[in-house]
Symmetry: C2
Subunit: 748 residues, 2 copies
């Protein structure tokens, strides 16, 4: 029966909650120092329903609900507009700054090409890059470390129900936006698309609460939405709006949100998410079209625009599908390699590069090396291409080429990555020679791998696409050279597209949403099937060797992330084996001193407590946060004189405190007050979900996923509390290569 | 507190189940005779988990689960291929038959135009139409009435968890396919797209079970999937494949399935559904491209192809958006009118046209009238258009036009509806004059309204699109005529598109999936926002007056359909008020006679029974179907000598009986056997979900929706059974215009 093959002991059978020390999670048998500031917290989607809440709901009229519904739509519209504006701002800033930079360097190079002394150009390039990266790196490393990277793992966690602190704050947004502008303008091998998803999520979390705690402004709006369930729904909409703005893919955005976040599909919610996505693309397009001097031209969706693949000119044939599938496998392999390298690099960073100044120095080093490598590649390349009349290079570098020609390597390196991707997709056959592409793939692969995880705001989507497009185009060229007479493989652009999909799929392992994003970004439905097959194969091959990049980073933070289904072979586990036991319970009328002691006790860092009537019979569930608000407002009943609480607490008090509940240490309770009693009846959830102790793990898991639970009380056959299953209890079980494994999660 | 405004008594607080008589449901205060053969049954997505099942799961290895997973993919691939082939078959047959018909009539008309005597042509046309419709009508009315209509309401019910008998049988599929070919070739105002969804679902239900009960063949494959949960998942995939084949919209198909069916979003399932959709479009394209003599050209997705809207040539400007929104409102109004008319017509039909021969006669009448009206319209139209060099009319009718011209009315009427839609979208400006379009809209509106609900297989998508495209194009022409100098409104094609979306949205009230389907079918992402806005407005306006067409038809069948969320103002209702009580319970070891009596008793037509140990303490839940299998196999324990059951029942026995469990009447139990005992321990679900009696209705509802429950036991604080909430108990509550209403559902 006991087919757990690897069982690592865990020190605290703690809850899904609260404060963490410097843990030492074990992953793949390697001990990793815990990254600092990893205070994760679960979100609560269920246990809000107490008497106060029910009373409010019951008082609310039909019209009241309709007003709420309209507010939700208004908020989603606002989310879309703001996200679109942010995308627009980032796009214009990057274009301006990068344009300025490339212009300066281009002039400098042109000046020195003839007279010699190109090393000065190299230094200029490196210095400019470093200057940008310095600004971005300092902001991230010193002010808001959570803004580093693409933010997608953090948003995935948030939507899954694990809240990483400060992830949806205004400060994070500001740092993220400036950071991403700096890193893209600084010439790093990064994209600005991933951070858009994070930005959208922050916008959503802010707008939906009708206040900003950072700015200390409360607009007294949308107070109803100040709770985890509602906020999560809006954050999904924000993430979708972000994807939509980044890729011009509103449907892809919706699917991304659903793939990552939805446990319970709700039609109206999905429809609102779609609305936010649509508005976001529309806003971005509207303002960009004005900026580009073509107001009203709304046909240019997204920050990255792959350019349209016309089905007439770039058709594929069904016998090419096996070739595409081989490329998918290759993408999976390269993706797994990328992820493994990045995994070891990240562990190295956690261990040795955890001080902010070191992080900034590393970022500067990467910026300088990127400039140097790019320059070297361009310098030694002798791939000269004629500058055609319809060339669309923005900064064609002539360098050592003849007049009327330009350096092809420079189109790949001397450009923002977005433009390079588009060139690889759409430049005419013959624009690149195979050696250029091979060298470019090689260098860019390692640069991108080194860059991801730096203390800068940056996404991995575009670099992945770029690497894939490069080797994909290379494949196309090679295939064409084998059969020089056949016109079928004449256009290497489609191979670039397939390669890009394969590489991206191999790295991030997204499936459905990525297919739709790619289809929307290429504006061509016919490529749907090959892209889907390629992503599928890339995922299968990649998963064999290594997890997806985001999953790796989530795992390294050892958060209790719940996957879609319980591990397949976990049917023999029951709630009894999984639950935490014994559980700290409170009486319905409990002594204040007891409550304070339990909450202060760091060994019982639970977030939810069953409420019982003697003898141990379950009558409700109350949350740590609720108890803290109660203590703060001193809702005590004096001994002997019951039913004389000092003031009546309202739902508003809980909402005002949301989401930054003070720690228990900050609440002073006098010795007299400790002797008072607290009546929890009104504040607890009177009907928590329970399961009998024989319930199988998949059944418990399904309940958690489908209802967004955080705590599930295990009761015996006379309804006495015998245990509590938390999110972390479930997240421990994991299907490894050799069957069911039990992971140790940090004592968070 | 009691704010139920309308409470209609219901005669039997029955279960979500079993046999029905000729009920008299009250809807909108009107008494409607119950349509015959409306034996609806709930599907069970949860209570399968008994000891036998758990044992099997526990025995199964990691590899076993992987094999299952691979089988699921294989099945989805098969579903895609078969659905694609069926779509291909329908398409080719319709094209052949309709082509033949129009050719004959065209020749006949041409012959008689000059010599006079066009009434002969009219008769020929009417006779040909009637001949086709006769075949289709007889098949449907006499052999399989469930194959009538588009099948979408039935599939919606199935995915929602209500099974309408015979809806996924092979016979239904055959009748559906032949029926739809006949009705489209017969010139009715119908489409072949809706039935594709039903066909896909039937294919899925068949393939996934690895056997055909109709053909009495058991391939001994996929036995694991012989249960409601798994079958439902495959049926979603089938429906998606159907949408995908019909509209060339794989993503739209996935979203359709999710919108209608998913309560619990599962990533792998969605991904498989997407796979089935992709394969289905691909198969259809592959074979159609071969049929059309252009093998390998895969760029022509779907049965209906709206033709590509090039963003360059058919751009819209943002100041057109308010106009689009007005059209959306108009679509909503017209849709509500359509639905109201159809509602009254359907009630009329249920009351007076319920005999098969009458149904066939009505269908013939409609066919003849359609031919007559079309002919009259063409005859009296004097809208002659020059026959350009690039004209794409397949059957241009010259009639009384000058040489080199053709009758424009004939392009709309004398054609399959799919082609007419495309002509309205893409013909050059000036191809139609406003009067033609106005008359066409008017007549086609009433024809389509009359046709929907006939005893023929037919969809309402295409007629709706056609009506909308006609008045949309009319709007475009009128707008252009107001501002003759402005080139903006030069192309009425985009207005036709918007009108089509508005009309379809106003009738069916689908939202997200319809947007995506329209976007995919037009191949243009930029129209996403306007289409979405239009659909939204159409839905809001339409909902104000009347429900969606499918919802009307679902409601008329009075099935316990669960919507997405509990009615907003239902927080004051608790499980205690909602539940059925008292409940018939069984003891864990129960007398056979008692079981037989309970099952035979028509007044307790429950489908699930709590199992208790004395005194009334809940220990499990067992289903009617399981009891029937147990009785059939006579798994009895003789009195006095316990633990001596004649044979050990296995999971296989339950699977073999699935899904057509015999009625209790067919099982003979002798008087001796009645005295035996039955031990239910192994067969019951030992851990059914329970709720306390104070749980609010929204909470109960959420549990039902999220977990796909059918029975929920209400237990008191010592775990004694005090009631049972069934799907029907929840479906009764309904948010009307004046607050919460309690509907009467038929005694099904």
């Amino acid at each position: 029966m006991a087919n757990i093959t690897k069982k690592v002991s865990w020190s605290s059978r703690g809850d899904d909650s609260a404060l963490t020390g410097e843990g030492t999670p074990l992953l793949n048998g390697t001990e990793i120092p815990k990254p600092s500031r990893q205070v994760s917290m679960s979100l609560d989607y269920d246990n809000i329903e107490n008497q106060l809440f029910l009373e409010e709901e019951r008082r609310m009229s039909h019209m009241g609900f309709r007003c709420l519904e309209i507010s939700r739509w208004v908020i989603c519209g606002l989310i879309g507009i703001l996200t679109g504006l942010i995308a627009c701002f980032i796009d214009i800033m990057v274009e301006k700054l990068a344009g300025y930079k490339y212009q300066v360097i281009k002039e400098n190079i042109e000046k020195f090409t003839e007279v010699g002394g190109l090393s000065i150009s190299l230094i200029l390039w490196a210095v400019l890059n470093c200057a940008f990266v310095l600004v971005g790196g300092v902001m991230v490393a010193f002010f808001e470390p959570i803004a580093a990277g693409s933010g997608i793992p953090q948003i995935k966690c948030y939507l899954n129900g694990v809240k990483i602190p400060r992830v949806v704050r205004l400060k994070t947004l500001v740092v993220k936006v400036i950071g991403v502008i700096c890193s893209v303008a600084g010439g790093l091998a990064v994209g600005k698309e991933g951070p858009m998803i994070h930005s959208g999520a922050v916008v959503a979390a802010g707008v939906s609460q009708g206040r900003s705690t950072s700015l200390k402004r409360d607009f007294k709006m949308f107070e109803y939405f100040r709770r985890d369930t509602e906020k999560r729904d809006f954050v999904s909409a924000g993430a979708a709006a972000g994807v939509s703005a980044a890729f011009g893919a509103p449907v892809g955005g919706v699917l991304f949100s659903l793939e990552e976040g939805a446990s319970f599909w709700n039609q109206m919610l999905t429809w609102r998410i779609f609305f936010a996505s649509m508005i976001s693309t529309f806003t971005l397009n509207f303002f960009l079209s004005i900026y580009h001097g073509k107001p009203g031209d709304l046909s240019n969706p997204g920050l990255i625009n792959f350019g349209r693949f016309e089905s007439d000119s770039v058709a594929y044939y069904y016998y090419e599908i096996p070739l595409f599938m081989c490329m998918g496998a290759l993408g999976g392999l390269l993706g797994a390699l990328f992820n493994s390298l990045n995994y070891w690099l990240t562990i190295f960073r956690i261990r040795y590069v955890h001080r902010p100044c070191l992080q900034v120095i590393e970022a500067l080093l990467v910026a300088a090396v990127t400039a140097a490598v790019s320059f070297t590649m361009i310098y030694f390349s002798n791939d000269c291409q004629p500058l055609g009349p319809e060339h669309n290079e923005e900064y064609p570098l002539q360098l050592f080429c003849a007049d009327g020609e330009y350096n092809a390597m420079a189109t790949a390196f001397f450009n923002t990555p977005e433009r390079s991707v588009r060139s690889l997709f759409h430049n005419q056959p013959g624009s690149y020679n195979p050696l250029t592409l091979g060298l470019f793939t090689l260098t860019y692969f390692f640069l991108a791998c080194w860059t991801y995880g730096l203390a800068v705001s940056a996404g991995v989507f575009i670099p992945s696409l770029l690497i894939g497009a490069a080797w994909g185009r290379l494949c196309g060229i090679l295939l064409a050279s084998f059969t020089p007479t056949s016109p079928i493989w004449a256009d290497p652009g489609k191979y670039a597209l397939i390669g890009a999909a394969a590489q991206l799929g191999g790295i991030v392992r997204m499936t459905l949403s990525l297919t739709v994003i790619m289809v929307e970004a290429t504006g061509n439905v016919t490529y749907g099937l090959p892209i889907m097959l390629v992503l599928m194969i890339a995922k299968i091959v990649g998963d064999y060797f290594q997890e997806g990049l985001y999953d790796i980073h989530i795992k390294l933070q050892s958060v209790p992330f719940l996957h879609w289904e319980a591990p397949a072979t976990s049917h023999w586990l029951t709630a009894r084996e999984v639950m935490s036991s014994p559980v700290t319970c409170f009486n319905r009328i409990e002594k204040v001193g007891t409550i304070v002691d339990v909450l202060s006790n760091t060994s019982t860092n639970h977030n939810g407590f069953p409420v019982v009537v003697q003898p141990a019979k379950l009558c409700g569930l109350i949350l740590r946060s609720q108890l803290i608000v109660l203590l703060k407002h001193k809702v005590f009943v004096e001994l002997a004189r019951s039913r004389l609480s000092q003031r009546k607490l309202q739902l508003k008090d809980f909402r005002d405190a949301y989401p930054r509940f003070p720690p228990i240490q900050s609440i002073h309770v006098s010795q007299d007050e400790r002797e008072c009693m607290m009546d929890l009846t009104e504040f607890m959830n009177p009907t928590p979900y329970t399961v009998p102790q024989d319930t199988s793990l998949p059944r418990v898991f399904k309940l958690f996923r489908a209802l967004g639970l955080r705590h599930l009380v295990v009761a015996d056959d006379v309804n006495r509390v015998i245990g509590l299953v938390t999110r972390k209890d479930l997240a421990r079980y994991h299907l490894g290569k050799h069957g069911l494994e039990e992971l140790q999660l940090a004592q968070t």
